[in-house]
Amino acid sequence: MSLLLLLSLIPLTFALVTFATRTERLRPWLVLAAAGCQIPVVGFVLVSRERFAPLAGSWIGLDPLGVLLVGYLSVLFLCCALYVPPYLRLRRERPNRIFCTMLLVFFGMMNFFLVSQHVGLMWVAIEAMTLSTGPLLYFNRNRRSIEATWKYLLIGSVGIALALLGSFFLGYSALYAGLESSLMLGDLKLHAASLSKPWLHAAFVLLLIGYGTKMGLAPMHTWKPDAYGEAPGLVGALLAGGATSCAFVGVLRFYSICVAAGDAAFARELMLGFGLFSMAVAGVFMVRQRDYKRMLAYSSVEHMGILVLGTAIGGAGLFGALFHVLNNGFAKGVLFLSAANIHRQFDSKSTDEVRGALRVMPASATLFLLGFLAATGAPPFAPFLSEFTILRAAVAEQRFGLAAAFLALLLLVFIGMGATVLTVVQGDPPPGRERPATERVQKLVPIVALLALVLLLGLWMPQPLESALWSATAVVEGRP
């Protein structure tokens, strides 16, 4: 069991070491080293996952959701860590102590969140995650980034505060029902049927809004474009692929309590509403979006909408949503990192000044384009499979209106996003920027790796992953 804590202790230890290190050039490699050290541990934990299944009365444990996410997160972080040294080499003018340290703290806290089996502990972890990303967002130290950081912190904290209230409500629902008051996930699910319904409902609303704020569901998404727009691409990738996914796991855990309580219908309707609204908002704001990094943020909003939508549909839809967590994360990684390359080259985020990227930096621009296609669900990339699975679940449930709305919104998003992406990559570069850039292999390798993952998952799904997805689905929906 204590081995599970190692998952967050390794990064935290490395964080300490990084903080203590004096050489600027060494720190990025420490981040990479931490990611590398994490892999064997994660591998071991995943192989012997039965040993780490949450026990009654234990605060930490690895439920199937955790199994899925811990593995995914370590891969994502490894890819992002690969990007750290070449990125920071270009940013020598900035001290990187805080950045590298906080990166590792952030990673450690995500892992801690995933293994927590206590509602309060989860809250502590996610709040710590939020706080550790503040300095990451502020890496560029200018007016815009301070503004983004401020908004991120304030809105995130308000949301998290609401999640705390929701957690308390959850506890109160047990208390009110006269049960022994406990905030252990296992206990709550065990006694779910006897929880007080009104408090449970209220708790779920608050938890969904609280964790939804971290996910970036509309209308709590307002921090997202600012934060993703101003953060280094690497941080954007980790936020969009890591933090939001963890928050989604939180939502799923509370949803599974509702399911266990036999009272999932209202939760589903609620998620359905938030899901569709998020997709619609994302679509509306993506149309004529000039800032391609903000566009990525709205794309993230859209995908969060898809996640809760899939959950709301249930069954295969939930399976698709869980699969989509992985696909979205990897595809977002491709997008954010390649966008970072483009941003660095053109020194602008606006399509007014960034055009013809294919001419200037063919590799990064191609990856950006492919990432766009992957993220919008073009077969044979994996997001297609997950979105399609969600769609067919909706159709199988006879929710034709929902399916139609889903498809229409996907089209809207595709058109909106496509216009911006194509403006960036196609055409002639603006005057003065025609000279082809030298693209460093180190900055392309992680992106290619992520893209390869997205493609691979679309063409062939490993058996262990499939069974992990199904068992996670079964656990959330309370089926054996």
């Binding site: 809105i155 609303v205 704001f285 077969p379 498809l407 055409g427 799904m461």
Partner: protein, 659 residues
């Protein structure tokens, strides 16, 4: 065996751009290797098709490939084989053409990308055709569609190209999403993604399924109200890509419609009627819009809309015949549609390649800036002329045969059904006749203004014949047009195999149903008279006949600019269809006073669906969406307020539980 061959062919086609990735950017060997690989692919495809036509039965092959626990299968039956052949054939001929038309040396920027995408169009389309599972189908579909996008936007530094490319991209995504819906619905029926017949499906479900799929496929095929991407994409793509788009990509949409219909039990009568009427509208309006075009490639593009309409008329007949139990109508309609798929692929590709050689050699695709090219590009002119005759459905070339089959289907339907359906079939005949007349008008205009008379610009006057490779590519297509026109019997085994896989209950006997022998006789008669005519001209030594000026009615200083232009030529017919086409006319203003000012006439024919409907609607939507932007105007206060509102709404939604 045949399915393995097909798979090899598809793989070869898809990989045809790969050698170019390792060769230097400006190496001509890359182009040649792509053409070679695609040629090999076409040969493999032809062999596979021949095997299927002889052996008949469907062959399937389970690939060692599982997606989400589903085993992916490919297969080759008559229908697949029928579409596989033109898919690879047209692509290989076009890639041969591209060796000279789009050489790596002079297109360093785009050649590599274009070559790769071009091969992927063919590979993706081939995968669609042989796929027996939804995932493989959709994967092939999207690879094809996206590769086509990258091919269309090869010259992405031009604004018009980017614009057309984006419209195409939006449309193709819409069609893909519709297919998502269709396949999801298919799955909900019996939890299977395999593309196999579902004979027990009830009518309502079948119709819904067919409707969804039809929207997706018709969007790709470019049937009339859904053709909005087609003219722009065809006009701005590199010409060998236009040839493939028109010759093959659109046909994959038709394949989808036919394949989907074959999986479902017979649909309602109204579905067949709908497809038939849509085909009629598409055919008539397509050719009417083609008449008013000034640009050669755009004109050809609208003719694709027309020909897709003719194909859809055949498909509609086949659906009607199957529902009503008239096997003769069914097989005639389907055979007409399918044969027209081949024929249109051949002559439209031929026309595009001809247009490409005109554009390459005279630097313009504006019809009214050309002229007199028959003396400068005699072989291109001959090829284009043959293509023009073929597309008008005139004997002795191939277009006539397939149109005749559709005519026969319509006539049989009118005799067999009577009543409203009979009248519909009759109006189908009239529509087809009108289309024939208009198409002839349009192509005599295009051919005449571009190739005949005097050159209207210096560039046209200085044009020279296209390089031999391009001529060989055109000659191959022209030859195929001629062979299919004179000996349509050659296609019968393939057609019958395809019809059998469409409706296993039907034993097609095309040789009885259609007068192929008489067509051959008539075509041979025409050919004999052509030869006799040439012999006579030689005997009369017409080549050395005394030459003089064209009769000028006494006006002594005629100039090439005084020739009848394409706009003037079409003005009468465009005027007749004014109610539908709504041309924008800038009438000449001569000014008041005794001496007229310099004046010009300018006509424009905006597309009704794209320019009058879709784009304004899109603009309105963009405007509306920018209105929502005030929501996100930077005030963190309001952002917190939104969260508060979300809580309230959430509680209200959950009130049932709270109260």
């Amino acid at each position: 065996m045949s399915v393995v061959l097909a798979l090899v062919a598809v793989a070869l086609a898809g990989a045809s751009g790969l050698p170019g990735l390792v060769l230097p950017r400006d190496d001509a060997a890359a182009d040649r290797s792509a053409a070679l690989l695609l040629g090999l692919a076409a040969l493999c495809g032809a062999a596979a098709t021949a095997l299927v036509a002889v052996a008949g039965a469907e062959q399937t092959l389970a690939l060692p490939w599982r997606v989400l626990g589903e085993r992916i299968e490919v297969g080759l039956d008559g229908l697949s084989a029928f579409f596989l052949l033109p898919t690879l054939g047209i692509a290989s001929v076009a890639s041969l053409y591209a060796v000279a038309y789009w050489p790596a040396r002079s297109h360093v920027r785009s050649a590599r990308r274009l070559r790769l995408a071009f091969g992927l169009i063919a590979g993706g389309a081939g995968l669609v055709v042989i796929a027996r599972h939804a995932f493989a189908f959709l994967a092939g579909w999207e690879i094809m569609a996206l590769a086509a996008f990258f091919s269309i936007t090869a010259e992405d530094e031009r604004d018009v190209v980017r614009r057309a490319g984006f419209i195409y991209l939006a449309c193709t995504r819409a069609s893909t999403l519709a297919l998502f819906g269709a396949f999801a619905a298919l799955h909900s029926v019996d939890a299977g993604f395999a593309l196999r017949a579902r004979p027990a499906l009830d009518l309502d479900t079948s119709r819904a399924l067919f409707g969804l799929a039809f929207v997706g496929f018709a969007l790709k095929a470019g049937a009339m109200p859904l053709h909005l991407w087609l003219p722009g994409a065809h006009a701005t793509a590199p010409t060998h890509v236009s040839a493939v788009l028109s010759g093959m990509l659109l046909k994959i949409g038709i394949y989808g419609i036919v394949r989907f219909a074959s999986l479902l039990p017979p649909l309602a009568v109204s579905d067949g009627v709908f497809v038939l009427v849509l085909g009629m509208a598409s055919a008539v309006l397509g050719v009417a819009f083609a008449l008013g075009q000034h640009e050669l490639k755009r004109l050809l593009a609208y003719h694709s809309v027309e020909n897709i309409g003719i194909i859809l008329m055949g498909v509609g007949l086949a659906l009607l015949g199957r529902t009503l139990g008239h096997p003769e109508v069914e097989q005639l309609g389907l055979a007409g549609a399918l044969l027209h798929v081949w024929n249109h692929a051949l002559f439209k590709a031929l026309l595009f390649l001809g247009a490409g050689s005109v554009i390459r050699q005279s630097a313009s695709g504006e019809i009214d800036r050309l002229g007199g090219l028959a003396r400068r590009l005699p072989l291109t002119a001959l090829a284009f002329g043959l293509g023009a005759v073929a597309i008008c459905g005139l004997p002795p070339l191939n277009g006539f045969v397939s149109e005749l089959l559709v005519y026969l289907g319509l006539l049989r339907a009118s005799l067999l059904t009577g009543g409203a359906l009979g009248l519909l079939a009759v109006s189908g005949v009239a529509a087809l006749a009108l289309v024939g007349g208009l198409a002839a008008a349009c192509f005599v205009k295009a051919f005449g203004v571009v190739f005949l008379g005097e050159p209207r610009t210096a560039a046209a006057a200085g044009a020279r014949e296209a390089p031999p490779v391009m001529l060989v590519a055109m000659a191959l297509l022209a030859l195929a047009c001629g062979v299919l026109g004179v000996a349509p019997q050659l296609a019968v085994p393939c057609l019958e195999a395809a019809i059998r896989s469409f409706d296993p209950g039907l034993a097609p006997r095309l040789r009885d149903a259609a007068p192929f022998g008489s067509i051959s006789i008539a075509a041979a008669g025409l050919l004999v008279s052509v030869v006799a005519m040439a012999a006579w001209a030689r005997w009369r030594r017409l080549r050395y006949a005394p030459r003089t000026v064209t009769w000028d009615c006494g006006y002594a200083a005629p100039s090439p600019r005084m020739q009848y232009t394409s706009s003037s030529f079409a003005a009468g017919l465009v005027g007749l269809f004014r109610w539908a086409l709504r041309p924008q006319l800038e009438a000449p203003h001569f000014g008041a006073g005794p001496f007229p000012l310099p004046a010009g006439l300018h006509t424009e024919l905006p597309d009704p669906v794209l320019d009058r409907l879709t784009l304004p609607a899109a603009r309105w939507l963009v405007h509306a969406s920018t209105w929502f932007r005030w929501v996100q105007r930077g005030r963190v206060h309001s952002y917190v307020f939104y969260i508060l509102v979300a809580i309230l709404v959430g509680f209200l939604a959950a009130r049932g539980g709270l109260g």
